[in-house]
């Protein structure tokens, strides 16, 4: 009895702490985004005074370029997601269904490569992209992002495709379907949940990326939200925290809502991507 009570008490305290730890910076972001900036000046702490000014400024002041950054992020993340999911589905299908020399090596190679530090690519990549005249274009981010998100997508789809019985393919092929037809008429429709969770994780990864975007963009034409927010500075020294937090909240809330709605997919996707064989 005693142990049961102790366990329950530990659980409740633990759960409460967990909620507090996970939520407070996010909640603080939201609170400050609704707080009047002026209260920061010369104040020992934030005096909360509700306002929508921060949101209004961020969404309407064209010199801040927030809407440009936001559009760039959405467009780039979307085209990267579509390309990555299509490319990795082809690859995952080949590895899970076709016997070829190097079948065991290819996915391990791709997975290993994804562990490289970003900094070890940017020295050369920067010069390369500069030479191509791609600075400040979507292309400068599109190609590296696809390469960067492919390994995770490949492993997620691979772990899903491997669970689908091979009889499905054989039946389709006896009916005269080619490999490619089997993939998009049989395997892909059956893999909708896996494709969806892969797409979600790739989208969030592309939306989050910072180092490439920081180096390969210098103005609003291709600059993404993370770079915009990292470099957001006040004109006269004082950092406009209210504006920064409003911009942060606008960019974060859609991602958090996606994560909350589709948490089941995200959890299975992340674990499949990291630890094979469930």
């Amino acid at each position: 009895m005693n142990e049961k009570f102790l366990k329950k008490a530990l659980l409740i305290i633990g759960a409460a702490l967990m909620v507090l730890v996970c939520l407070f910076p996010f909640v603080w972001m939201i609170i400050i985004s609704f707080t009047k900036d002026a209260t920061f000046l010369g104040s020992p702490y934030v005096r909360f005074e509700f306002t929508l000014d921060n949101y209004r400024t961020v969404l309407s002041d064209p010199t801040l370029h927030f809407l440009d950054y936001f559009r760039n992020s959405i467009v780039i993340a979307t085209i990267v997601t579509i390309t990555t999911v299509m490319t990795s589905a082809l690859g995952a299908y080949a590895v899970s269904r076709i016997n070829f020399r190097g079948r065991l090596v290819v996915p391990i190679f791709v997975l290993g490569v994804s562990m490289f530090p970003q900094i070890s690519l940017v020295g050369y990549l920067f010069k390369f992209i500069e030479k191509l005249g791609w600075i400040n274009t979507y292309k400068a981010l599109f190609f590296p992002y696809v390469a960067w998100t492919l390994p995770l997508a490949l492993w997620m789809l691979l772990s899903y495709f491997s669970q689908l019985p091979k009889d499905l393919d054989e039946a389709a092929m006896i009916d005269g379907a080619s490999r490619i037809q089997t993939l998009y008429k049989v395997i892909l429709p059956l893999s909708a949940p896996a494709l969806f969770s892969t797409a979600l994780l790739v989208f969030i990864a592309a939306f989050n990326e910072f180092m490439f975007a920081l180096l390969f963009t210098t103005d609003y034409r291709a600059r993404t939200v993370p770079v915009g927010i990292a470099l957001f500075q006040g004109v006269h020294g004082e950092v406009p925290w209210g504006n920064i937090m409003a911009a942060s909240a606008i960019s974060t809330i859609p991602l958090v809502i996606l994560a909350l709605i589709f948490q089941r997919y995200i959890v299975s996707g992340l674990t499949a991507g990291a630890i094979k064989g469930e």
Binding site: A15, W28, V110, L121, G277
Partner: protein, 292 residues
């Protein structure tokens, strides 16, 4: 011949080629290119790209700044992954229990993961602010006085660690939770019949059975922590006095100064450090077996 053994080989290579093209062109070649640059004197404001052999490496390895940065990076990874493992394990144990509201708790734990790193770093930056940050407001209101979080070496180091731990713990939690759920319930029942209490069960049943997942998760997170950049770029830029200067941040600074030769040499050393952990990860993960 091989062609007869695997009649569909050509098709397989065709299906893999778009993926491999992206990886080779935008990861493999850039890494090799950075290595190439590291063997040259390549400084924006000094004319001439010149082969210098290992000079950049000798230059880097003879700098105190580099060794300090290596020390900072390794300490950061150890402390950050250590804290994250303890916290992640605690969270996973909580989420593994049957109780009311478990679904909501599982959703909440994902929030730090969903917040973009740069955005979470800026929020932490604001909370650490000396004059109007949340932490000093709390410290001031209980009469302890403020701390200059990002201004002194030790507190800046931990400030960066905490921000990183917050962001990355959900991932650890999810991996460990998946590991916990794979432990069959009857092992616990057997332990209860044998009279093991809650702590003995954790020590002698949970931990040993969770070990393989724990090792994979820790290695994976260590690989990630060794290349830390975003959080540091926003919070401290590597300061004060190099106290939070990770290898990635140091290399980035050299690129920013226009010294691509030295920046590339540091990048390649970072690469080799991470690569050694990657090999361990691929070995302990037993990925090859999963494919058979």
């Amino acid at each position: 011949m091989g062609g007869a053994r695997y009649p569909e080989e050509k098709l397989a290579y065709g299906m893999l080629s778009p993926m491999l093209a992206f990886v080779v062109l935008f990861i493999i070649i850039p890494v090799l290119g950075t290595f190439w640059i590291s063997l040259h004197r390549d400084v924006t404001f000094i004319p001439g790209f010149k082969f210098v052999g290992l000079d950049n490496y000798i230059n880097v390895l003879s700098k105190r700044e580099f060794w300090y940065s290596l020390f900072v990076t390794v300490s950061f990874s150890l402390v950050s992954v250590g804290l994250e493992t303890i916290l992640g394990l605690a969270f996973a144990l909580i989420l593994n229990e049957r109780m009311k509201g478990r679904g909501i708790l599982r959703a909440i734990v994902l929030i730090p993961w969903a917040v973009p790193t740069i955005i979470s770093a800026r929020t932490w930056e604001l909370m650490y602010n000396y004059s109007y940050g949340l932490f000093n407001w709390i410290l001031n209101s209980i009469g302890l006085g403020g701390v200059n979080w990002l201004g002194s070496p030790l507190s800046a180091f931990f400030a960066v660690v905490f921000a990183d731990v917050w962001k990355t713990t959900p991932f650890m939690t999810l991996l460990l939770l998946a590991g916990l759920q794979a432990i069959p319930g009857d092992t616990y029942e057997a332990a209860i019949i044998d009279g093991a209490n809650m702590f003995q069960r954790f020590r002698h049943v949970t931990l040993p059975l969770l070990r393989p997942v724990l090792i994979v998760a820790v290695t994976l997170r260590t690989i990630d922590a060794l290349r830390v950049f975003d959080v540091i770029y926003v919070l401290t830029g590597g300061g004060p006095g190099g106290a939070t200067m990770s290898l990635s941040m140091l290399a980035f600074n050299y690129y920013n100064l226009g010294d691509y030769g030295v920046g590339s040499a540091i990048s390649i050393i970072t690469f080799l450090t991470v690569l050694s952990f990657t090999v361990v990860y691929l070995k302990v993960g037993r990925f090859q077996e999963g494919l058979k």
